[in-house]
Subunit: 705 residues, 2 copies
């Protein structure tokens, strides 16, 4: 189930599939902002009812000019509004009176200009909502539907040549980026179902566009350009819908660097947010993230041409040993598995070509030029031997050769027929029409074999992402946390009750109780000042470690309480928490933090410099499955440290996964009253030493709205 209640997509049909269009501020000059859309609509043959609105003309571009929308006297699904900012409010009243269904607003001068503009934009959005008008913009380039001759844009891009109609939908928050992407799609020969820019997003957001495309029967693949998202649940619901409908989403999101994020924020007034959280969002819904414009198009074209591979195994086939080695490097970097052929298959290949490399990559060498049948024989042998999820063949400039082309085409046809479940790709130089012919067979074609491999590695993610929201074990009854910092004792109690293994501990209120605790616990103990008001106990000198005996504990108690009282005379102090020192193990950190846009995010990492300096942490949106929890542990760059590398003991990964699930369940129960919960350190130990254990914890509640 997706949260599709976030959308009212039926009302978007009036916007994106209008049966009637009025251009407000229509100009006779085809180069003016109010002239361009009318020119496109007339020139490219929009089939619905078309009206021009201009109070100072009688005819515009051959159409009768209406004084205002309400004077048209017929239904208007979409008003394209090209008037200065000062006239927009009046046009909106006119549109409300005329019962216009939706509106594209090009005008700038709103949130992108500062606080006055933001207020004007909010007023606009409120009025449009009251009037039942869906609004795209302001400060946007509008949209187009190439298959339906709908041109609600003043972008010059279509004037330079039309993109062909097709089954890829494209939504962009940036107009200029969108216009460039339109031109690139045209040059690359990609067919578009919708091209839309959302500008300031007073009403219709990128997410609405995604959701509409997810339900559009004319769209198979979605391309999106994003600078930031203000409504996390809406974006999640849109991505979930696209995933449910099996439509790959290729996302170009800027702001991976601090400077890029600042540049994006200064642009269409978008909220940049934490890129790592976006990454977690994309991972959750199997979004294919593009890190360059080249990737953006390569991934979208590939997702359209071929079905995603079912897994990560790949067969590599080459006529050049050198390129075979490059492909092996690239496959390794892309996380693909280059498993060797069986001994029997390798023997067979060696019989055919004595100096072939028969393992995988399979290099049948230049010998293929003497015997072209080798190609099909060896490729089929590879796929019969192992049901590779993907297969990539490198044929150098073969695609340019008239002699080789029929062999290549027949090879692809044969493999397609006999191995319909394998993603096929070839790397060769060939003219565009030959590339089209191979792509029409569902085969990817790249000049650079490395680019093919990077695409295949990315596409493999689609089948790795569960399609439904994971069903969590019932986390238990709702919890209402008090706002603010909770003491370590209260934090530990809450997490222990949620199923997190915590170190045995006891609140001691006097030095004598501390001494007694040291005696009863045996071994070395730690004492930490306990107070709701003191979140960072070390900073106030409120921590004493490695206390060996009762006398030491007694002295330490007095010392840390005196320190804390001096540093924070206002704080109500409960006493100190006494706990045995945990020996050995690996320091980890686990927590849940509320992201202002996307809500609670679960985090796991190694402690100390790994999390804080090297940023080697993994994040997930909630809810999670236990498999997600295990994957979080395994994807750390430093995972080998937990996994018994170099003779270290292997820690109990199951107990970590259970702890992460317990944290996630706790966050679910606390809902909107949780600001954060962090276990630092969580000591990971081998199973025989008791698995992982929380040694310190801090829960912070919040005022739920």
């Amino acid at each position: 189930m997706t949260d599709s209640h976030c959308f009212d997509t039926s009302r978007l049909d009036a916007l994106f599939a209008p049966r009637s269009i009025a251009v407000v501020g229509a100009s006779d000059q085809a180069s003016k902002i109010g002239g361009i859309p009318l020119d496109y609509l007339l020139r490219f043959g929009y089939g619905g009812a078309l009206y021009a609105v201009n109070p100072r003309a009688s005819r515009v571009q051959g159409l009768p000019a209406h004084e205002r929308l309400a004077a048209i006297g017929a239904p208007v699904d979409l008003a394209i509004v090209a008037v200065p900012q000062s006239q927009v409010a009046g046009v909106l009243e006119d549109a409300a009176a005329a019962r216009v269904q939706s509106m594209v607003l090009f005008s700038s001068g709103y949130a992108e200009t500062g606080s006055d503009g933001t207020a004007a934009q909010q007023a606009l959005a409120r009025r449009a909502q009251e009037a039942g008008i869906r609004l795209i913009g302001p400060n946007c380039l509008g949209f187009m539907r190439p298959g339906h001759q709908v041109y609600a844009t003043f972008s010059p891009a279509p004037g330079g040549g039309l993109v062909r109609p097709g089954r890829i939908g494209m939504v962009s928050q940036s107009g200029a980026f969108g216009a460039y992407a339109y031109s690139l799609a045209r040059e690359r020969g990609l067919g578009l179902s919708l091209w839309a820019t959302t500008g300031n997003e007073a009403d219709v957001q990128l997410a609405d566009g995604l959701a509409w495309l997810a339900q559009d029967p004319e769209t198979d693949v979605i391309m999106a350009y994003m600078e930031g998202c203000r409504d996390g649940p809406r974006l999640r619901a849109a991505l979930a819908l696209a995933q449910e409908r099996g439509k790959p989403v290729v996302m170009c999101k800027v702001g991976t660097s601090a400077l890029g994020a600042a540049a994006a924020a200064s642009h269409t007034a978008s909220l940049a947010g934490n890129d790592a959280v976006y990454e977690a969002v994309f991972r959750r819904y199997g979004v294919l993230r593009a890190h360059s414009i080249t990737d953006f198009f390569a991934l979208a074209a590939s997702a359209y041409i071929a079905r995603a591979p079912k897994g990560r195994s790949i067969g590599l086939f080459t006529v050049s040993g050198g390129v075979g080695a490059m492909m092996a490097d690239d496959a390794s970097a892309a996380g693909l598995e280059v498993a060797p052929l069986s001994d029997a298959a390798q023997r067979q290949l060696r019989e055919w070509v004595p100096f072939a490399a028969p393992r995988n990559p399979v290099d049948i060498t230049g010998q293929v030029t003497n015997d072209m049948t080798l190609l099909e024989r060896s490729a089929r042998l590879m796929l019969a031997d192992r049901q590779f999820d993907s297969w990539l063949g490198f044929f150098a400039a073969g695609g340019l050769s008239d002699a080789f082309w029929p062999v290549l085409q027949s090879l692809v046809q044969t493999l397609r027929t006999h191995h319909p479940d394998t993603l096929l790709a070839v790397s060769t130089l060939c003219p565009p029409e030959r590339r089209d012919a191979l792509e029409a067979l569902g085969c990817l074609v790249f000049a650079d074999p490395g680019a093919a491999i990077r695409c295949i590695g990315a596409l493999a993610r689609l089948h790795e992402t569960p399609q439904a929201l994971p069903a969590m074990a019932d986390a238990g009854s709702a919890l209402h946390l008090p706002a603010g910092t909770l003491s370590e004792q209260r934090s530990m109690a809450l997490l222990a009750e949620a199923g997190v293994p915590v170190v045995p501990h006891r609140l001691v209120r006097t030095a004598a109780e501390a001494a007694q605790a040291a005696q009863e616990m045996g071994g070395r103990i730690a004492l930490k000042v306990c107070s709701d008001a003191i979140a960072h106990k070390s900073d106030v000198g409120g921590v004493a470690l490695n206390l060996a005996d009762a006398a030491g504990a007694q002295a330490a108690f007095d010392r840390i309480l005196a320190n804390a009282r001096q540093a924070r005379p206002d704080a109500r102090i409960d006493g100190a928490l006494a706990a045995p020192m945990v020996q050995g193990g690996v320091e980890c950190i686990a927590g849940v933090h509320r992201d202002p846009v996307f809500g609670p995010v679960l985090m796991f990492g190694l402690g100390g410099i790994h999390a804080e300096i090297l940023r080697d942490v993994s994040l997930r949106l909630l809810p999670i499955t236990r498999d997600d929890a295990l994957a979080m542990v395994r994807e750390l760059r430093a995972f080998a440290v937990l996994d018994g590398a170099r003779g270290r003991p292997r820690v109990d990964l199951d107990s970590i996964a259970d702890t992460l699930c317990a944290l996630a369940g706790f966050a679910q129960r606390a809902g909107a009253t949780l600001e954060s919960a962090e276990i630092n350190p969580l000591i990971a130990r081998p199973r025989e030493d008791g698995g992982c254990v929380a040694v310190d914890a801090l829960v912070i509640g919040r005022e739920a709205a």
Copy 2:
């Protein structure tokens, strides 16, 4: 000074610039291996003397056929040999008799086939050397010089269309890769001076080709494809020569992954080696490493079109805020500095365009379509305000527009004239002839702005690499190390003498001496068994740490010596090394290890998991400068740990650099008698705590050849 004595490049002129060519095994059929080169030479108009050798014909492709080379009766600079392996030895004798200068040998059946083939290849190389014949191959596709119509190849690539003559030289160890690269160069419009494949490298190696191109007056940029190198000094000398001549080398080297390295090794019988060492070699000589075929061509074309930027500052200019944010992300990832314009310049831009983003990236928005003069004004303002090393402008599809094209062309011309020291790049869609026009002005042109930024970031390396071998302070007199493992005491003594700060230590031979040492040293001490025969002391239970007093030291001495004797009854044991425990600091590792191909390599990293598991280490070839040593420390991913991140004390970086220089000097003095020297741990501490100190060391000597 470079080691150019490694080369005899004058003799390579007969090979690559032959005044006369004979084709041995010449065939009448233009599609046969012995027919193709003759066909090319005749068809494309080779201007030197040309002879066909075929004992079973009277004429071949219109030329008189000679029975053998010696029968020609005129000088032959180059023999192209296209005969089966069984006839090669005979042809070589014939060539020796005819005083042939050089030879291309296509035949396979040598080292790539196993040990018999290797022996045959060695015999071949010896005989060619005796006869004074330079030999390229066997098992190679030969070479071409497009500007001189020399076609000593049987590759079908030129048959599909000729590459244009130009100033980029290309050498490849792989024939099939080379052939593909030839076709790609043709499609991309790159002009080549030389195209050569070196195959099994019985005599002429990739390095010889590089060195010849470094000295070739017709070559400006060098492209190389490498699988492995057998002669490290020769490769280093060739790269040094290219650097000295100011010719950028763009290198595609396979084998970054274990699988890729294995695939490369199974190919042309090359030695794969450790990729990280190659990376250090490339860094040393400012080689631009390409990680994909796309990069290979983008870097080579860029290095040819534009001079490398003098530094890492870049001005980013855009007509799209979204793309501006992407460019900022990309620049950050490429290590470029996007410094803001002055306040005055920002104010000026805001006066011109109120909603411009004036900082850097500078986004002048769509406003430019209303006032095209804005473009040149704002770009010149940027460059006048800050002398950016590079400047990149994004103009969307502007390059396709007939109205915009003159504006763009004039912009590039003006910037080129007024800012000759700034690397210029534009990102736009444009037809090939417009791209050529901008490139002719020395301006890079990319459709994808991210690709432009990655290229600029790579080119910046060229000016960061010192052109001359660093002059080392006189390291001192030569040292002759004994072969095999040295005890910790001897290792520490050698390194201390070389200038490495070592922890105070003392050899104790009895338990009583150990107790005395504990008393005299005060504080906690460590005891470690001392023996030339025991390199890994912990593995035999030969280490006791944190000994608090004389009694503890006494007992520990007996225990660790008993352990060591039990584990290694044969070992001669000197006693134990006593040293005070070093408190605090950051554990590092520093060492010199002999690479079998490239000789001593200096290594530095953080200790423990950082070096061993996360492979976060930096490497340098010797000799190094002190700046190199500092750079080694700074380039660690975990450098922040040493640099005082998160309130940690900042360690004394100078003392680490001094220690690395001392290690390098030691390695220089020990020369070929050093196998490895490793300090593990080297404890890095703040200056006030005494800087870094070696706590354990292991030197291994070797039998010098």
